[in-house]
C-alpha cells in the first residue's frame, strides 16, 4: 500500500534573512551599468556665471564630438585646459576639426563677457571652418525669467 507523500513531512522553512547569494549579482549589475556610462572628466570645470535660456536643448552629440571653449569673465579663452590667445583659436581648432568632422563647439562663456569677445571667437571658428556652434546655457526657470 502506497504511503501518502512518501511518508516524509515537507520542511516549511521560511527564511527571514535577506538573501545574500543574489546580492553580488545585483551589485555587479549596477557596477556594469556605471562602468559603461562613466566618462572620466577630461578637463577642469571653470568658474563662470552660466547664461540661462528657456529654450535650451540637450545636445544629442556624443561627448567626444563636443569641444568646450571656455570664456572666462576676464576674457581669457581656454580650450582643453590651455589658455589660448583669441587670434590663435582657429589654429587650435582647425586640426581638431580636421580629425573629427562631427565636431560641435560648445561655447561656455561667462554671462558678463562683452559681445565683441564672442564675436571675435565666432569669426575664428568660421576661419577654422568649424561652424556648428552651441551657446552652452543652463535651463532657465520661469521665476528667474521675470526678474531679468
Amino acid at each position: 500500500m502506497a504511503i501518502k507523500d512518501s511518508g516524509f513531512k515537507k520542511k516549511q522553512g521560511s527564511d527571514s534573512g535577506i538573501p545574500t547569494s543574489s546580492m553580488a549579482d545585483i551589485a555587479f549589475l549596477l557596477l556594469i551599468f556605471f562602468m559603461v556610462t562613466t566618462v572620466f572628466r577630461t578637463e577642469k570645470t571653470r568658474q563662470i556665471e552660466w547664461t540661462e535660456a528657456e529654450s535650451s536643448q540637450k545636445l544629442e552629440e556624443k561627448r567626444r564630438d563636443i569641444l568646450h571653449v571656455w570664456i572666462e569673465r576676464s576674457g581669457e579663452v581656454y580650450i582643453n585646459d590651455q589658455l589660448v590667445p583669441i587670434d590663435q583659436i582657429s589654429d587650435v581648432i582647425r586640426p581638431i576639426y580636421g580629425d573629427n568632422r562631427q565636431l560641435v563647439i560648445a561655447l561656455r562663456g561667462d554671462a558678463q563677457v562683452s559681445y565683441d569677445q564672442i564675436n571675435l571667437i565666432a569669426e575664428e571658428l568660421q576661419e577654422a571652418g568649424s561652424v556648428r556652434v552651441t551657446f552652452a546655457t543652463r535651463m532657465e526657470q520661469r521665476a528667474n525669467r521675470a526678474r531679468r
Binding site: 572620466f40 535650451s56 536643448q57 558678463q112 559681445y115 565683441d116 571652418g129 556648428r132
Partner: protein
C-alpha cells in the same frame, strides 16, 4: 579519553560571501566618478567664411541689443526703430513669421553688451520658432 579528529576541510570554491563587498566597493568607486552628460544649449550653424548672401530687405527683421540690455526692433525696409521688452521679442517675431515664413531674424549686438543679453534675445528668437537666424555685431 575521547580523541576527536579535526576535520580538514579545504573549500575549493570561490568565496561568494565577500563577492558582494568587492562588487559594492567597485560600484561606489564608479558611482562617485561618474559624470553624466549635461550638455545643453542653443545650437546654431555659423555661415561659412566668405559666404555673403544677398538678402532682400523685406525678409529681414533686426533685433538690436544695446549695452544695457535694451532691445530695439527694426524691420528690414524701414529705418524706424522701435523699443521692445525682452519678453515681447518672441511674440513680435512670431507675429512677423506668420506673415512671412522666410523672414531672417538678425540679432545685432552692440560690442559692449554682455553676452547674457545676446543669449536672452537668442532664446526668445528660438522660442518664436525662427529657423533662419543671423548673429551680427552692431556697427556704429
Amino acid at each position: 579519553m575521547a580523541v576527536m579528529k579535526r576535520k580538514q576541510k579545504v573549500s575549493d570554491e570561490i568565496p561568494t560571501s565577500s563577492m558582494a563587498d568587492i562588487a559594492f566597493l567597485l560600484l561606489v568607486f564608479f558611482l562617485t566618478t561618474t559624470v553624466f552628460n549635461d550638455e545643453q544649449g542653443l545650437s546654431i550653424v555659423l555661415p561659412e567664411r566668405a559666404e555673403d548672401m544677398d538678402v532682400s530687405a523685406r525678409n529681414l527683421i533686426f533685433f538690436i541689443v544695446q549695452p544695457d540690455g535694451r532691445v530695439d526692433v527694426r524691420r528690414g525696409e524701414s529705418e524706424q526703430v522701435q523699443p521692445v521688452a525682452y519678453n515681447q521679442v518672441a511674440a513680435v517675431l512670431r507675429a512677423e513669421l506668420a506673415g512671412n515664413p522666410n523672414l531672417i531674424a538678425a540679432i545685432q549686438t552692440h560690442p559692449g553688451a554682455a553676452y547674457r543679453h545676446m543669449v536672452n534675445v537668442l532664446d526668445e528668437v528660438k522660442q518664436a520658432g525662427a529657423e533662419r537666424i543671423s548673429l551680427q555685431e552692431l556697427e556704429n
